[in-house]
Symmetry: D2
Subunit: 364 residues, 4 copies
């Protein structure tokens, strides 16, 4: 394995949500090593967060970080920007200008003007710009795209994407909710936060972009300054029709992202909350339940039937074990150990003996 | 964050299955750093595997590794044993004896004699022994255990655990199949490989161990030397009855591990392949679909509704990005980037404009 | 039980679809007895169909039937109109005018003019007019309506109804398809055939009618003269937003009627193809799986957990038995009989004996 | 249609469960007409029940009924026996002896002696004996049997049938529970009431009968005199292994009958509570969701995607309509009528107009 790529992070300090997930994702396959950060616009929090993460270098300001890192021979080669939307542009411009690749959370920016700044910086520089629309990297989404591309659905006629959440059905106040419902920081509400995911997913899988749209965008919660529900009708150039429905006031919904595509020869149905399977229905045939056994992109780490959370449960064990090794016994009782192993051996022996004795009851 | 714990690995060289998963799990939360290994009993393969993983220190023999590491001030503090079952005991004895904590894959050993060796070594030494029954670390399994413990099911009456696979329904030949169907290396077949998981899971959740069992163990595939299907009836001391059914010849099943528990006041149903949810039915009430929103153990990294594979899809993006940064453009076209970002911004703007104009169709 | 109500039928002759279902529905609870019919506009077919059904009285013309039956002391008291849409009005006017209650299939008519004729006739006469939007009579739909009415969902914010079929994704030619895709006979396509069901279902459950709508109606299949896909956005007076999506070109879909309602306090999700259950999610609580055990309308015949098809399977047996009694042995081998009974008794005895002997294997 | 077959009934008086279902099943396709009954062993209740059902002829005693009916030229040709189990034999013997076909509910009898009496009577007489194991008449169960018979599963290796209920998890007292938990009337408990269903279903689909079994039969509820939980292991002559698990103390389960069959070439999974679909997994291919669209037995009345309860909801409407026609307006408000029809027409017109005007919002 080549050495990990030194990675920086802007945003993602204490209390942040998406930054922590970026860090795990960056760590999972060992390709990156987080070494520097400007983790908060608050200098003290930035420093404390960096210390908590064991970062080599902490900066109070991302522009300073871009300059300093690009000057070091061992400086970061890429940076993850995981701030609220309105900071994306300034940070991206700074790092692209310093020759550092940018991995930016979505949506691109909080305004068209900011988006244009990023586009300009990307055009002027050779460093690359990546946008983490993470859902399109799901194994079965990649398989969906392959099925459409190879014509398994025929000509696409109908596209329907939904992303339904319920967490903003009241006037919530929290770190996550506050900036997401502030037009200055977020730009758009449901449209930006989850609508762009639905939009990108539909585009990624079908390979088609609509020509025009008609929308009904709402603010459902009294006093809210930003959209929290949107229904969009889509017209595609080939005559196909589509729809996007996103909501953050759909009570009881967690992350109900789904995509349905119907063509002249077949149909696909993928639901993010059951991302381990996808229904593919060839015309006039029974629906087929595709799992990662059918995925051809190789984009997974565990065998089919091991939901991807298999790895996280495994990591839970390792983390509990680390705690015990470090002397924290809080969760020692939920870690399997020798007694479990001996018990399992007893089970095997008893089962074999009982079976040998024609099913006689064997005391354990 | 305190410094990561230096970790070693025995087994898990090129072509291995569970070793790679242990490495990801150990890396996910950053608590361990893999630094040494005896990755194969074949010296050349051990060395090549260690190089591929960028390990600091590679050993041809695990006994040598135990000695050398325990002698170093910066030596490993824990070791993952991910070999075929018949090697567990010798390796565990070596590392426990050297004062190094052992994280061992299941089942404990390939024979009762080997199991006893581990038990003896654990008793004589202060280093700890952990067994990776990973399923019990699933958030909802932990919640299941909590529900039983607090009496939400009343007195337990019925327990049913299944683990059904189909991958050995033919006389398969592969690295994974070969040792698992060899009595000398595996000890037991389905009973050991998946039966101990079902057994431990039932025990972990119910907190109860059966008094006695009656079993029917079979070799279904002609020529197979080891069990590939087992049905076990269980009697518990409190009068409860249970069953375990494991099979590796259940055609079409991937990793169909499930647990159902019925008590006098309620029932639980958890299926590993849909591990994001668990059905809890209080007596005379509608079944409730529990998600991680109801988990009280805090054993997860993503919000409810983001299946745990969310993180893996995210990591897929990071890995593709790393490849591009290193110059490999093979999958560059499936990474979202600036165009996706601009497209998303265009979508937001058009949707807002259409809605402002009472749903007028807006060209993109 | 009071005597069954004499019932007539207009349409529903040989090869018809919905007429046969009306007959079974009318027969199921024994409240009606089909005694007269004008089963086809083709006189010979009408006569042959009536003979096949064993009807007492057959008419070549429904107007003649209305006159004759109203003149008889034992004449029909109600009539089922199960013709293509464009005949509904003329038939309804004739029977209402003759004092005979009308049970009419949906949609009401093929044109606004025809609809008005029915409305006028209903106003001038005392006979009643019923419209068979059958889905709203489903036990859990009735329960859904009750939940909304009692405020379990709070103020309604979002309503989404879909009805997706795939059977017209090609230029189909069949008795059913022909008139449904002929504007003169059907009036509307997907909008009339399934759109009115979705519309009525949403209205029935929520008790709310939208103030205004915005629609995108399409003809997807080349050469089709009538709509086969429609997306409709809805605005309700209380600020709620809704959507209806109906399609007959959604490949692979059978009768994908669904209704989702989100309010400030809870949400409902009902899917016709799994009509035995409904998901009710109170805000901030786990989703609950309601079954007929929770239905309070008493609108069912079998216990919860016996899908309503239970009765149809039971009827399958009775029909097979009738055939055998009449001498037709075609399906005799699939009717359980004495051997099954003796086998079952043997099973019981062997199970009890084995259990008494501590699980000894007992030969059957 | 030939004239309906005159049918009698023994048992099924007021408060009975299965008798009412037999009557609906017999009526559904119009092949039988219920004309005579000995509906209760209590003469007054028998008479009252017969009057309530509008039966032509009521008898206080089934033996008298058998004699009298066989003597009439228009007497019943078949009789449904829907009494508690211990009456089956005496009734069956009486009717078979009188030349009247018997349609008997399961299990066959309450004792081996009674079963033998039926077998003897069946051998001595030409009248036929049918046993209503209704589940095997389900369309997809018939398709399952066809798939096995044509070799789609290869050689059968594993068979697992379950029937789980929770309604007897307490010491229930009710008309249904009382005789079912009385050894004298029922013979066996869970084994007889639901175990014989699971047994017959497995046999019907696989065409195989086990050679021997090993059982663990339990009485879980304190004070219960009869089995309420049973686990049975099965050995088949071809080396296949199987299991049957039935329980009436599985809290929260309604009628959880399921059958799983695994062969060398494929697998089937059918669940009664979702009887509209069956999963068929050919070896090394994705699971396929079979619906009635794949059924080849023609054993259904509604198109695929209309769950069989479609007919019952339809019948609910007819019954509500009958009530209104007879002057009972209790449920008049839940019957769709003219206003629904006009509303639907308004919806169609508005949708078409909006679409013609490029999605303009149209007031309804």
């Amino acid at each position: 394995m080549t050495d990990p790529i030194p990675l920086g992070m802007v945003g993602g300090g204490e209390g942040a949500f998406i930054g922590a997930l970026h860090r795990i994702a960056a760590r999972m396959d060992g390709h990156f090593l987080l070494t520097a950060g400007a983790l908060s616009s608050d200098a003290a929090r930035a420093e404390a967060s960096a210390r908590a993460l064991g970062l080599d270098r902490s900066y109070a300001d991302f522009r300073e970080m871009a300059q300093a890192e690009s000057a070091r021979p061992d400086g970061i080669k890429a940076v993850s920007i995981v701030t609220p939307n309105h900071v994306h542009a300034a940070a991206a411009v700074a790092f692209l200008g310093a020759g550092i690749h940018v991995i930016c959370d979505k949506p691109l920016a909080a305004s068209a003007h900011q988006a244009q700044q990023i586009a300009d910086a990307a055009r002027r520089n050779t460093a690359r710009f990546f946008l983490t629309h993470n859902y399109c990297a799901n194994p079965l989404v990649r398989e969906a795209r392959a099925l459409v591309a190879e014509g398994a659905l025929g000509e696409i006629r109908l596209v329907q994407a939904e992303y339904l959440q319920g967490w903003l059905s009241d006037p919530v106040q929290s770190k996550q909710a506050d900036w997401r419902t502030d037009p200055a920081q977020a730009g758009a509400g449901a449209l930006g936060d989850i609508g762009t995911h639905a939009w990108q997913l539909a585009q990624f899988v079908t390979g088609m972009t609509p020509d025009s749209l008609s929308a009904e965008v709402s603010r459902m919660v009294p006093g809210r300054m930003i959209d929290d529900d949107a229904r969009v009708a889509l017209r595609y150039g080939n005559g196909a029709r589509g729809g996007i429905w996103v909501s953050q006031v759909a009570v009881g919904q967690e992350n109900g992202l789904s995509l349905r595509v119907f063509g002249t020869k077949g149909a696909l149905d993928w639901r993010q909350e059951q991302s381990e399977r996808m229904i593919f229905t060839p015309k006039d045939q029974p629906p087929r339940i595709l799992t990662r056994a059918q995925d051809r992109s190789g984009s997974f780490r565990t065998p089919p039937g091991h939901p991807e959370g298999y790895l996280e449960a495994f990591a839970n064990l390792y983390s509990d074990i680390a705690a015990v090794i470090r002397g924290d016994m809080t969760h020692a009782d939920r870690i399997p150990g020798l007694q479990d192993g001996l018990s399992g051996m007893g089970f095997i022996a008893a089962a074999l003996r009982s079976s040998d004795e024609d099913g006689a009851w064997v005391t354990l």
